[in-house]
Amino acid sequence: MILLLKNKVISQNLICLIILVFFFQGKIFSQQINGLNLGASPESYSAASDGELYPILSSAEAEREGGLKDNLLSTGNRLKFADYLFQQEDYLRALNEYREFLRYEDNDSVRYRLAESFFRIGRFNEAADNFKGLFFGSDLSDEAILGFYKSSFFKGNYKEFRELTATPIYMPDKYVTEINRLYFISHFMDNTLPYDTAKLFTAFPDSNRQEVKNFYRSRKFSEYKSPVTAALLSVAIPGLGKVYAGEVGDGITSFITTGLLVFLSVNNFDHDHNFRGWLFAGMAALSYGGTIYGSAASAQIYNAGIKFNLDNEIKLYFEKRNYFLPKLEF
């Protein structure tokens, strides 16, 4: 080094070189860091959700953060990658990429796909919020309003959903039939079907109307068993309540068991075996009480079974038909 420094020309070259190397090194590394830190963190989701939705960066910020325009994280590449993830049904990652894209460029179609990604992973609140952002001044406003209503529907609070549909100001002409149909489906889902069925049945296509009518009848006039009646029947004849609730085998067994224990008790008392008499009397009382309680419980189980099966049947029917919602291409 000392020898080198003695040579003035070489030392000048060396200084130039060091400056250049540090300059370019810094640039390359900053490109790496800037480029690679663009992946969104879970914290940034919430930050964006709480405040303004996906604010677009100023050109200076974009230049600072984006750095390389042709790298893997350029906005164009991000969008291509996000669409690929969306097609692969990797919606969680797709929405992350769409969100990052929207920091640099505004695009209604991307906003729509972002909301749709939230919807498809079951984050209905965020989906509804993002659909809401496209209500006004967008070519996709009708689709966004439909998206908003379907997100509200799938949240599962059907009463709140019906209240929302009562605000006609938001109703898009293009999809009013679909939203109206969702309104009636919500009645099927939470078993609050109206008695006036004129509007209800006409909301569904002709090909499905008969099935919907059948569901309506099953929902409205299901043959439930009364737990009180079941208990009273078992008070009269042990086990009869269980037979009424559909458990014939259990009913007969209860009848025989209770009858046998009563007989044993009486028989023992007759033969002056008082201890055994009381023992069997106690057992007979337990069996009798148990049969009465069991009959009421059987009726409740029977009713729960009917409700559960019908709920499932209705849900599967509408799910299979995608709740009669149109399949949108975007």
Partner: protein, 277 residues
């Protein structure tokens, strides 16, 4: 001129040291995320790399690492999918075998033991090197462990080395386990003894007591010529306790064996230092 040339030369050399194409930077970044346990982000970055890598240079490595990330997140179906894609993009026989072993390991964790064994049997036919055959037997052993078949596991580890540490463990577990059939048989002979044998002393003694009482009442009724009483008490009380004693003994033996297996699995999970699925 001379000064300019020397400066340019040194500068060009320095750039060649640091220059790295975007794809390799991306791979390194994704790999760093994987190594630091940020599996979700690592998968995203590996997928980005694959999407923008037209020459499929990173197909094998990226797919294997995506599979490992999914495996770390217990998403075994996805892990197997990506390991299988990696297997289709291998550049050498070693990579193909490695991908197959990864598929086997994910199958072991997914408890699809038959599929794991099927792949291992196929591998066994294909390879001849001792080291690889040892690996096949090692993962066969693990497959059997996860299927709670410690005897077969011991046999598989024994093929690697007669005193393999996992063979010793499997043998010990097999010895510690109680026979469900034996427990039931002794309960048939002496009610309550099965539960006592499996370590449940109090329930065993209670079961013994109930059976003595039921037996006494039944026999006493017959002795006093109350045949109907005897038949009813025998069938409703004694037989109920007798059958309960056998079922209790069986459940007790099954539960004891589950406890022994779980203890061994906990040891393997937290304390065993060798390769794990």
């Amino acid at each position: 001129m001379k000064r300019f040339f020397s400066t340019y030369l040194l500068f060009a050399l320095s750039l060649s040291i640091y220059a790295q194409d975007n794809l390799s930077i991306q791979f390194d970044y994704a790999n760093t995320l994987y190594k630091t346990g940020q599996y979700f982000d690592a998968i995203t970055e590996f997928k980005r790399l694959l999407f923008f890598s037209p020459q499929k240079k990173y197909s094998y490595d990226a797919n294997i690492l995506i599979g490992k990330c999914y495996k770390a997140g217990a998403k075994f179906d996805d892990a197997i999918k990506y390991f299988s894609v990696a297997e289709l993009n291998t550049n050498s026989a070693e990579q193909k075998i490695e991908a197959k072993f990864q598929i086997v390991r994910a199958n072991i964790l997914r408890r699809t033991t038959n599929r794991a064994l099927e792949i291992l049997n196929e591998l066994e036919k294909e390879i001849s090197q001792k080291q690889l055959l040892d690996s096949v037997n090692y993962w066969k052993g693990w497959s059997y462990i996860f299927a709670d078949n410690w005897k077969e596991a011991s046999a598989a580890f024994g093929k690697i080395k007669s005193n393999h540490e996992l063979k010793k463990l499997c043998d010990q577990i097999e010895n510690d386990k109680v026979s469900v059939t034996f427990t039931k048989v002794i309960s048939y002979i002496l009610p309550g003894s099965g539960q006592i044998y499996t370590g449940n002393i109090l329930p065993g003694l209670m079961s013994f007591g109930w059976n003595i009482l039921g037996g006494y009442l039944t026999v006493n009724s017959f002795v006093e010529d109350r045949v109907f009483d005897g038949a009813v008490i025998g069938s409703l009380i004694w037989l109920r306790f007798y059958r309960g004693n056998i079922q209790g003994a069986e459940n007790s033996a099954i539960q004891k064996n589950i406890d022994i297996s779980n203890k061994a699995l906990r040891f393997l999970q937290f304390e065993y230092k060798g390769a794990k699925p």
